[in-house]
């Protein structure tokens, strides 16, 4: 097992490195490059431009720029000294060892062009709302997809199954943004005005989410605060998960049907086990094996799904940050978000693989 995990982690490293290269290419591809902000402004003196270039390392060959951005190279080093961090050890080692603070490896993603904040701060701040949204969506998604799929499989060709099938096909074909907008107008606009149209907390009663005051408030009014967030979660979560539920309920149904058709299920029935035990112990346990892997692989896409949902519902998470940054060409933010989400995809793949091994006794590493 350990060997397998180690091997998979080692395999993931070149992929992660490749991702950083691709992400760095975005900077290079950005119209005008990092200097666009100043390049053509006659009020900026050449000396100022030069110092900016120097600060960004733009006077260096691209591999060195990349190395600095990654934190492999020390920007203040000279010659081969660029490899050595302030503490005399290789620059790419963790900060406590190398003393280096520059570059992605040390958590430095640069500064937002738009607001000038460190990118990592913005990402960290946006991460929690996204985790709440995606986490809730994930639970709902898994539970509903499995219940729907299993029930439909057990009662194959029933009215319920047919209804679930129609839902699955239509839900799968529905553009998420369209659904979100229709939901807003059905439940928080001119239609039934019963759910908030956007945001994460009720501004009137709650301090801003994530601020220190909020946690004080949360501590003293926990049920109210949770209820508030729950109310704001309803529409975005539905919007986010319909596609996933639609796709995965079919997946679960098919997997369950396949499982139900297996010999061991017949054996279980031949043993005289009650239908419940046969379905939910013998068939479901096996049917879930591919589902777990599948869901593991899909989880990261909740975050891209959140791009749409958060934009429509003003949910202050990673997705909204992404759209805003795209609109404003704020590529340090874009690079940061892209890098973080890509790493999450790689990690999720890794976890899905390992998890599969854990739950399926047949897999030996």
């Amino acid at each position: 097992m350990m060997k397998f995990v180690t091997r998979r982690v080692l395999q993931a490293i070149p992929v992660l490195l490749g991702v950083t290269v691709v992400v760095y290419a975005i900077l290079l591809a950005a119209p005008g490059g990092p200097e666009a902000k100043f390049a053509q402004n006659p009020r900026i003196t050449q000396a100022q431009k030069d110092s900016f270039r120097k600060a960004w390392g733009l006077d260096q060959p691209i591999p060195i720029q990349y190395g600095r951005w990654m934190g492999i190279l020390n920007p203040s080093g000279e010659g081969l000294g660029v490899l050595i961090g302030p503490a005399g050890l290789p620059n790419f080692l963790p900060t406590p060892l190398s003393g280096a603070t520059n570059g992605v490896l040390h958590g430095d993603f640069g500064y937002s062009i738009d607001s000038g904040e460190p990118v990592s701060n913005r990402i960290i701040r946006a991460a929690l709302p996204t985790f709440i949204l995606a986490g809730t969506a994930l639970v709902l998604w898994i539970v509903v997809a499995i219940v729907l799929g299993v029930y439909a499989a057990i009662h194959r060709y029933s009215l319920f199954d047919q209804g679930a099938t129609v839902f699955a096909y239509v839900g799968y074909a529905m553009p998420t943004f369209w659904l979100g907008i229709m939901l807003i107008f059905a439940f928080s606009g001119p239609g039934l005005n019963i759910l908030p149209a956007g945001g994460m907390t009720e501004t009137r009663i709650s301090p801003p989410f994530g601020s220190p005051e909020y946690w004080v408030y949360f501590g003293s009014n926990t049920p109210q605060a949770l209820g508030d967030i729950a109310k704001h979660l309803v529409l975005p979560v539905i919007t986010l998960v319909v596609v996933n539920i639609a796709g995965d309920s079919r997946f679960v149904r098919a997997s369950m049907l396949e499982s139900l058709g297996q010999d061991y299920v017949r054996t279980a029935r031949a043993k005289g086990l009650p239908a419940r035990t046969v379905n939910f112990k013998h068939a479901l346990r096996n049917a879930l094996l591919p589902v777990v892997t599948n869901i593991g692989l899909e989880i990261p896409f909740l975050f891209t799904g959140a791009i749409v949902t958060e934009t429509i519902f003003s949910w202050p998470g990673i997705g909204k940050l992404t759209i805003d940054a795209t609109r404003d060409f704020d590529y340090p933010i874009l690079m940061g978000v892209l890098l973080v989400t890509s790493v999450m995809v790689v990690l999720a793949n890794l976890l899905a693989d390992i998890l599969y091994g854990v739950i399926d006794p047949r897999i030996k590493y």
Partner: protein, 367 residues
């Protein structure tokens, strides 16, 4: 050799103390996209307590479906059990039981062993757990007692260090070992009837013999009745008392194993026997039944074997033969050769068969 008898005549099987199973006019159909498949078409047979019955036939002859129908393991739909079908077991018609009553029969009174032990065991549970589950379901014992029963059963079927094996997953066992587990599982609640559906087909030849031997000894020791479903006449010869031969969903011949194997009365059975490779036949041409099993959607209108039958004549194309008593008592065959007036044809067929089988002696040795 009277255990297996056609139940063409009226009888009251449930009043007969020795009679364990009495299947009457069983019809099982499948509704599939292209139409209806009559998988079992009017099968009847009986089985007494402690006796063994073999069901032989090619793939698609309906032998497995017969067993699954008795066990009520078919999904309805697409399967459909024809009205008038009966399967009297120990005084009750299995086909009329409620699902919950039937559940108490399965695994407890009737147990089944399947062909492929790897896929028939659930890969994600230990073998011990799978046996214990059945024990707990039917015997209502505590987990600890169930577990000791598991170990006991595993030991009974000859698995070494059963305590350790019980905690292993199916994929960690060899094929023969897995089938032993299946047998242990089937016997764990001391069933009155054991149905073994091609129990050795998926196994190595050497292991096959062991498993058959095991089945035989266990059956004798526990005294349960056994239905052995197989396409392998060799298996039949070694293990059963009586045999029925199925073709295209119908019983075409039935009788004691020695009679059927030595004196087949139906050209299909003859063909089956002739196609068995034997030591003596080595080097010679292996005979086989020509043609293929007819499509279930396009069954021949009269005798279903007629298109492949070397002795077929006009009558065979006119009407379906009944499963009737042959000139030997207690023997039934579904063939026009046995009607009056076809005696010369029958003689020709029999003598041809004898000629084909001139070296087929060894088959009888084991009976």
């Amino acid at each position: 050799m009277t255990a297996a008898a056609a139940t063409t005549g009226a009888s009251t099987p449930h009043s007969d103390g020795d009679r364990l199973l009495d299947v009457r006019n069983m019809q099982t159909r499948f509704h599939v996209m292209d139409g209806v498949v009559p998988a079992v078409d009017g099968v009847s047979f009986t089985l007494d307590r402690g006796r063994t019955l073999g069901i032989v036939g090619e793939s698609g002859s309906g032998k497995s479906v017969t067993a699954l129908t008795i066990m009520r393991l078919l999904d309805i739909p697409p399967a459909e059990i024809g009205a008038g079908s009966e399967a009297w077991f120990d005084g009750r018609d299995l086909l009329a039981l409620s699902e919950s009553e039937m559940r108490k029969v399965r695994g407890k009174d009737i147990a089944m062993i399947f062909q492929e032990p790897l896929t028939s065991l659930n890969p994600v549970f230990t073998v011990g757990a799978q046996i214990a589950e059945q024990v707990q379901t039917h015997l209502h014992v505590r987990a600890r007692e169930a577990w000791s029963r598991v170990v006991e059963m595993l030991r009974l079927v000859g698995i070494p260090s059963p305590e350790r094996r019980a905690k292993q997953y199916p994929h960690e066992l060899s094929g023969g070992m897995r089938q032993r587990v299946m047998i242990a599982m089937a016997l764990s609640c001391e069933p009155k009837l054991l149905i073994a559906d091609e129990p050795t087909t998926a196994l190595d030849v050497t292991v096959q013999a062991q498993i058959l031997e095991l089945l035989k000894t266990i059956q004798q020791r526990t005294g349960s009745a056994l239905i052995m479903i197989t396409h392998d006449l060799g298996v039949i010869a070694e293990t059963v008392d009586d045999v029925i031969v199925m073709y295209a969903g119908q019983v075409v011949e039935q009788g004691s194993v020695a009679d059927v194997l030595l004196e087949p009365r139906m050209p299909y059975t003859m063909g089956l026997i002739e196609s068995i490779p034997t030591v003596e036949k080595r080097g010679g041409r292996l005979s086989a039944i020509s043609g293929v099993v007819p499509s279930p959607f396009h069954l021949p209108p009269a005798c279903r074997f007629e298109p492949r039958c070397p002795y077929a004549w006009d009558t065979c194309r006119d009407r379906m033969p009944d499963l009737s008593v042959t000139r030997d008592a207690e023997r039934h065959a579904r063939c026009h050769l046995h009607v009056a007036g076809a005696a010369s044809r029958l003689e020709a067929a029999v003598s041809q068969h004898r000629q084909n089988m001139r070296v087929g002696r060894q088959l009888t040795d084991s009976v």
